[in-house]
Symmetry: C2
Subunit: 119 residues, 2 copies
């Protein structure tokens, strides 16, 4: 059973963190049949953490975990901090397929989304 974990930065504002939970819920709807488990996690300032998010996926029966960084720029968070936290669970579950995808900001389609917002 494939799982998908959206990872956002995390905020001191609970409303911002709730937005991520809502994105994950909509994604779960959309991904059904392809990714039957969708969870979310935060790099910092909010729970669940990235290792906790991966554990949640596995506890629900995941056989793979795709970690999708919900970040717009390739800063140190995307380049270093997320991989470091994911590596903790990759070490715990060496037989499990846990990998990090491209981050949101490198998706070409964002330009279409911006154009639609501007219209």
């Amino acid at each position: 059973m494939k799982s998908l974990l959206i990872v956002a930065h995390g905020s001191r504002r609970s409303e911002s963190n709730s937005e991520i939970a809502q994105v994950a819920a909509r994604l779960a709807d959309k991904a059904r049949g392809e990714f039957d488990i969708v969870e979310h996690a935060f790099l910092e300032l909010a729970d669940p953490s990235i290792p906790e998010g991966i554990e949640r996926c596995i506890a629900r029966g995941a056989t793979s975990v795709q970690v999708v960084p919900y970040f717009l720029a390739r800063g140190t968070h995307v380049a270093d901090d997320i991989p470091r936290q994911v590596a903790i669970k990759q070490a715990t579950y060496p037989g499990m397929d846990i990998r990090i995808t491209d981050y949101l900001g490198c998706a070409e389609e964002l330009v279409d989304v911006l154009l639609r917002l501007a219209r």
Copy 2:
């Protein structure tokens, strides 16, 4: 002549700021004929500032400026800081149509983008 100004947070890392300039360049290509002027600006930590970005649009002949927040969450930056900086130029040019659109994070299509990245 309609213009579009993407506003990102801005970073101490010049690579992150360059990513925004690249998004603006791709957007300019895509928006041609609809928004003939596309500029970018930063809320903080990098240049041009939001008022400077609006001035650039106007200097290039813009008759309207659509300010699109390149932000994922509706935090104080989106709710307060961007409107405050835009208001400076709205006061300078009362006859000009300068408005702020929805921010990127509230676009429903982001879920499709995340799903595509996970595949």
